[in-house]
Structures are given as C-alpha cells and as structure tokens.
C-alpha cells in the first residue's frame, strides 16, 4: 500500500459526522482485499472481519472513526450569503477559509468565508470574529444561492492535502483518517499472517459528535477486547508543554481511562520488543475517543487507546507525519500477532500482560 497516497485519498474525500457515506465507501474499497467479510451498516459504519479459521476463535476489534468535522448551513441571507453552524470549530481557523458546500442534489459548491478588510473596520477588530458573525460567499447571485442551498447542507474545509517538509502532510480530516490509514496498513500486513484471533476492523461513524457509531458495532460483534486508534496532540512552535507529543515521535499509548492497564502494557512491551518508538499518554478521565462508547457496549468491553501525534487538530491545516502513521500501524499489527488464544481473559486486574515475545508465530 502506498501510505502517502492512501493518506491523501482518505483526507481528500468528504465525510462529516452524519454524512460519512463517501468516506465509508472509500474505506470499504480499501479494506476489502484484507478481510473476509465487509459490510456497511445503516449508520455508515464499515466493518470488515478477517477470520483466522480456528474454531471458537476470539475477536479483537480495531476501531478508528471515519467521520470528520463538518459544518452545516443554517440560513441563506437576502443577499445570498450562507450563515452556518460550526460546532467544535475554532472560529479563528474559519475566518477567510476555503470551504465546500454540498447541496441537496449532491453538487459541490466552492465558497469563501467572508472577511472584512482592515481598512473598512471602523475600529480595528483584534479579537476572534465569532461564527455567528461569519457567512459564506458562494460567488453566486442571491436567487441562485436560494435555489441551490438548503438549510442542513453539509459544509467542509475545501483545501486538499499538501506535502510539507520532513515527511509530513498537511490538510483537513487527518483526525481520524490518518488513524484509519494505520488500520489499513496493519490490515494489509495481517492479511498475509497466520492469526490466533479473528480481527474486526471498524471504521465507525459520528465520533466527532459523540455519536454511538462504534458502540453500534461493538454491540453487534461483541469483541473480546478492542484497540481504538485516534490522534494525540503534537507539540508545535507555540505549544511545547509535556501533554503534547513530538511530531515524528512514533506511537502514543494511552494509560488511564478507557485504556486498560494490561492492554496498554502489552502494547508497550510489543513496541519495545520490535523497537517501535512510543510514548505513554496519561488519560486521567475521558479519552474523548470511541473507547468510551466501546467500553460501555454489550456487557462491558476492555479497550486500549492507541494514537499518534497531530498538529492543529480540527483545523484546515492539520499536520501528521507519514512515519508516525506507519509506525503506529506496525505496532498495531505486531500487537495483534502477539495475541495468544488465552490472553486477556477474565478480570483485567488479574494479570498485567504476560507477553513473552512470541504469540502464535
């Protein structure tokens, strides 16, 4: 798999929470060669199962969310500008942004978030312009805008992914499509291996709105345990506190809420054994990932949170490292290969890990 091209393809397809179907279709296409069963459910969750062929095989779930942040049209003004809802967006990133509005008919209209030139401001506006004072210019006459645009149309950052220095990519939706890419890389590697577990790959919907896409999947498949892939915050020029990670620093293994100690420990042991760089991340409460939903699915499911760093999360200029994407995928694949048939049964506190470096291989 060409990792860079996969990252580009997955970030260039539009699929916000509640509007995932385009992105879901791309994932379904990409995972198909590496799985025995691929399905897309009514919620736009894509599930792909790789069977190990053993009787009464246990099931490990690998989840990354397929949805991206999306805005929504809420009003067309008399002069043809589109007012919009942008929950969870930083309004500073929106001012003057390139956007794409998808009409009810499925047409993509390019737009620009209107800005106010400095020389026309009565008093210089130095604070953030809030979202409700912003509007989108589609460059169309008002009557055309009214004919084409409907309240509830989805709106996205328009810019496609570009390459930056040091093996990094920059664009929208790397959260969580970069993690989705890691799942695909791992799936490709595992497709050629003998496994001791069945593996469920899940690209789940509506994570960004706190929706239960991953829970629907977990309730349906009732995995024995799950690893949730998401992105951690990377250090950048303006932020170098220890709760952020170095871009290019490898995988990030969560410890704490939503990340069971023994699964986290196994991930770390595998990373050390395979010389994959990683850091631990303290998650005192609320991982704000799908792990929260999966943990409470069925009769309770043990989860781990595995991530890697990203700069400027939820912006049109998110930056990830291709190497981090690959290393995290490698760790994920090696973790699955490390699983023995009796690992992680029973009380999560009864054992920490017990990894002897072998697994089934």
């Amino acid at each position: 798999m060409d990792v860079k091209e996969t990252l580009k393809r997955l970030t260039n397809v539009l699929g916000g929470s509640g509007d995932e179907f385009r992105a879901s279709a791309v994932f379904a296409e990409l995972i198909r060669p590496f799985a025995d069963e691929v399905e897309t459910d009514a919620y736009a969750n894509v599930t792909a199962v790789k069977r190990c062929g053993k009787e009464n095989a246990r099931l490990v779930m690998i989840d990354a969310h397929i949805d991206q942040m999306a805005m929504m049209a809420k009003e067309v003004t008399d002069d043809g500008f589109v007012k919009f809802i942008a929950q969870g967006f930083d309004p500073r990133q929106l001012y003057g942004a390139d956007v794409t509005l998808i009409t009810r008919a499925g047409k993509e209209l390019p737009g620009i978030v209107a800005t106010f030139p400095k020389e026309l401001q009565y008093e210089e506006i130095t604070d953030t312009v809030p979202v409700d004072e912003l509007s989108i210019d589609l460059g169309l006459p008002a009557e055309k805008v009214k004919a084409e645009v409907t309240v509830g149309d989805f709106i996205y950052y328009a810019n496609e992914t570009i390459e930056l220095a040091d093996g990094t990519l920059c664009g929208r939706a790397f959260d969580d499509r970069a993690a989705v890419t890691s799942v695909l890389i791992a799936a490709e590697k595992l497709s050629a291996e003998t496994l001791g577990f069945d593996v469920l790959y899940s690209a789940s919907a509506r994570e960004e709105v706190g929706g239960p896409g991953a829970a629907i999947v977990a309730n349906r498949y009732k995995p024995d345990f799950a690893v949730v892939l998401d992105l951690a915050q990377a250090k950048c020029d303006a932020y170098s506190e220890p709760d952020a990670f170095e871009l290019g620093g490898g995988a990030v293994i969560g410890r704490g809420d939503h990340s069971s100690p023994r699964l986290a420990e196994r991930l770390a042991e595998v990373a050390r054994a395979k010389e994959i760089p990683f850091n631990f991340q303290a998650i005192p409460a609320q991982s704000k990932t799908n792990a929260g939903h999966i943990q409470l699915a069925a009769t309770g499911i043990e989860t781990a949170v595995l991530s890697f760093p990203e700069r400027y999360s939820h912006s049109p200029v998110e930056i990830v490292s291709i190497a981090d994407t690959e290393k995290t995928a490698q760790l994920l694949a090696e973790f699955v290969l490390s699983l023995g048939p009796h690992d992680f049964r029973g009380d999560p506190d009864a054992e920490i890990s017990g990894y002897k470096g072998g697994g089934l291989r």
């Binding site: 030139p117 040091d166 020029d237 939820h314 049109p316 200029v317």
Partner: protein
Amino acid sequence: MREYLKALSEIDGVSGREERVADFIAERAKPYAASIERDVLKNLFILKKGARTPERPIVFAASMDEWGFVADEAKDSGAINLSYVDGMDPKAVIGKRFRVAGGEARGIISVVSQHLTGKSGTDKVPELRDLTLDVGAKNKDGGKAVVKPGDGIVYDYPFTEFGEGFYRGKAVDARLGCAILLRLIEEADPAYDIQFIFTASSRIEHRGAEVAARRIDPGIVIVAAAAAAGDVPPQKKVERSCAVGKGVVLGLKEYGTIYSRELRTHIEALAAKNGIATQTRSGMRGESDAGQLHHYASGAKVAGIGAPVRYVGTGNPIVHKDDVEAAYRLAKVCAEEELRWQG
C-alpha cells in the same frame, strides 16, 4: 482581462521583491513602449507615445507588490519567523497555506488547537509577530532546509474562477492595477503620451511611489487599483464602502490623498458618455500610492480608478469579471480622450 489577471497574479512578488513582476510586464510591453526604465527601488517606468506630448507628464500608475511575508531565521522548533508588510491582518492568515516565493516549498500558519488551550483559548487572535510559518519541520535544521532568511512568503492560492463570473486567487487584488495598465499599453491608442509607472514597495510606506514621483514629476496621476468592497453581510463594525456589480470605483479620499474633484467629475462624465457605471468608495482608512505620487514632486491632480474586490489582503480576494472589464474600459477611455480640463 482574465489572461492578464491570471498571468500577473500568479507571479510571486512581495514588497521589495517585485523583479519577476517587472520582468514580465517589461517583456510584454516592449513592442509598444517608447522607453522602458527601472530604478533602484525596482519601480518600472514605461512610456507609451500618444497623439501629443502634454506639458507635464500624465501618469497611469499601479503597484506591483502583493501581500505576504519575508522569512526570517528558522527557530529551534523548526518554525520560521516572519516579517510582514503594512496592513496585514493576523486574522486573515490563520489556517492558510503559503509558499516560498518563486518556489514549490509550502508552509502554513496556524494557532494552537483548542484541544490544548481549551475553548477560551480561541477568544484571542495572536498578533502577527507571534505567528510563525510551519513548514512541517521538526527542528531548526529542518526549517533551514526549506526556507532561507530573506525568502518571500506568498499566499498559496492559485488563480481560479469562482461562482458566477468571479476570479479568485492570491494577488488578484494586488495586481489588478497592473493588469489594467499592461492591457492599456498593449491595446490603447492614447490621445497623449502616457508615462506608466509600476511601483515597488507600495506596502512598505509606499517607498517606490515616493521616488517615482520625483523622477517623473507628474501633472496628472491616475492610479488603477483594487478597491476594498465591504458588501458582505452587515456587521456593525464594518463599512460597506463600495460593492461588487455597482460600477467602476472612483476614489474620493483616503489616508494621504484627497482625490481631485475636477478630475473625478471629468472621468464620471467620460464614463457616462461611454455607458460605464461608476461608484465612489467611501472607505477613508485605506491608503495607496496615490498620496506619494501626487504630492512628492511639484504636485499633481490625482484620480483613482478601480474595481470592487472582496476580501482584499487575504489569499482569496475575489473580483467580478464585468467589474474588471468596466474598470479597464474606463481607463482606456481616459487614455484615449483628450483631458480638456488639464492646464
């Protein structure tokens, strides 16, 4: 005007680095010019002969430099420190893509994610001097490998069509005047000799215009430029000034300039005679080369002709093709009709 605007806006030239723009214009103007000169500030002077030679030079002027930055040293973090030209708005550069002038290397300007700062961290916009260019580098050496101190940094938004009849892209605002003037050089049949001045460093205190005025000592100056349009949804804090689709924009007054009422009245009459709609712009806080050009020598009458442009100073200024065409037509009328009031 599409071809002129596309070609000129896609050339990179921040203030003080306008050579590539000047090269392009000089090359294209060669067959039509009586003389082509350049000065140390990188201003470009092109004389086109007309039916008569006026007593004092009649100047058509436009500025060549675009909005952008000049790169400074790479920091330990790998980010690039930036110097900026006058009038840049920090709000307009956040979340935007940039490119090293004349090159392929790219970078972005961003703010720290609210995942790290909390939602209240989004209330304030950092000042320009606190913003840096992220080129993806992880350390100082990585940053240095991409951008050298002194490199120009321009918006990375290439020319495209937008909506119905709009052009958009970086420097569509900044080079609008150049586009009008270059086409005049190529197509107008002037009633009098016209001294065209393409100025440099308009966004650094209008330095180019200052020395250009002394070199030429104009009697009349017509400045062609984008006019900031405020015809976006009402916001109490913002003036409308002028609007897309409402006619060629004539200057009234701005920082450094009170435009000549006789000259404007005369141009309005010419426009009416030729069926060209005009509007004036009410925004008083703008500034342009007009100030330096008309009062840095022995004094000149000055007029401003422009097209209304939304989102000036950003990577995505937009201008309507009919507005640019009308601005060109009015400039051409001014070049080809006798300026009777001159004396």
